[in-house]
């Protein structure tokens, strides 16, 4: 499922590493859900941290409507360089996930 920030998150390398592992469909789905949800919260935290209090509720309302154009229009009006900030937050998390995958591979 495409999220409003999907184009900023590089997950291909994580998928390649997960794909190399012996996992059942349920296991794949569970790990995938954890990654997705963690990314979502990290991205939302990065955005909320940049918004003024009065704009936070508005952002969450846009998020709930899931109108990607509306979200981006709103964020670009409110925060300078928001894309770079989201990308940095997502990259920090994906770097951690890659390290975990490296460790997990040693256990096979």
């Amino acid at each position: 499922m495409k999220q409003w920030y999907s184009h900023l998150v590089e997950i291909e390398l994580i998928i390649i590493e997960l794909d190399k592992m012996e996992l059942s469909k349920e296991e794949k789905l569970h790990l995938a859900h954890l990654i997705n949800s963690s990314l979502h919260h990290v991205v939302c935290d990065a955005v909320l941290s940049q918004l003024q209090d009065k704009d936070k509720a508005l952002f969450i309302r846009h998020l709930h409507e899931d109108n990607h154009d509306k979200i981006w229009k709103f964020l670009n009006e409110k925060v300078d360089g928001i894309e770079a900030k989201i990308k940095r937050a997502a990259d920090d998390l994906t770097d951690e996930l890659k390290k975990d995958l490296k460790e997990a591979k040693k256990l096979r």
């Binding site: 499922m1 291909e12 998928i15 296991e27 954890l34 949800s37 979502h40 919260h41 509720a57 709930h64």
Partner: protein, 286 residues
Amino acid sequence: MKFKSKRPHYEYLRKKWIARHRVIQEKIWAKHAKHLALGSLGLLLLAAPHQPITPITTLAQSREDILKGFDQNVLLAEQLGQQVPKEVKPLELREESAILSLLSQNFGFKVRAEIDSIRLNRNYGLIGGEQHLYRYPGDNLYAHADSTVDWAMYGSAGIAPGLGAWGYFANSKQELSELIKLREKYYLAIQTFLVPGYAENVDKFRNFFKFRKMLVVNPKTGQAVVAVIGDAGPAQWTGKHLGGSPEVMDALGLGTGSRKGAVLYFFIDDPKDEVLLGPIKVRSQV
């Protein structure tokens, strides 16, 4: 999770990622909850793509909200049950006409069995699961997933070794637009070669069918998807009458088990290109 795994690499990742997820969630609550009504932050969590762990605050709902969530596709299944023949066979004109009117009415756009005097060999048949298709030169299976959940859900279907009937969907990765992505995601393989008049009008028919928008409905459940014709097939000897991408099969409720089932499939008359590709719900009557 109800199942247990003995795989140490899975257990390691599961424990580590659950713990990290919890820390991230606690951080967001601690930092932002005081600035937001609990309901707002609850909405944020509801908007999360998937919530495997933390229970979400239940929000009070009005009666109207409850009705909005009601899946009216189930009612469509009930209506179709009275029109669709028990045996999977080509529809008679009387059945076709009743079903077309039912579908057009329920979805709010024109559903047709014939456009420009061209009609398929049948509109009720067995759909089988297809693989992903290469979208551009150098494409790979991993690049098809927009998220890790996409990979977990649809990655195992694999990617077909050959190209679709119309070649690549785009000439290069740079040309890969959202629309093109959606066309591959929601594609159908249709037995265009069995369409009456095909052999005499190959060029005309090939152009007509290329990415032609179609409505596919599982009459047993009412689940429906708007898709495009992206390939020709399956061969007659397979016993199947059309094929669906992994995402199409999932949208129809046929993504697991034998990945096969009876569906209705018709053209969508959409000259202004207004009907979006993907799973579709019956127009709300509420």
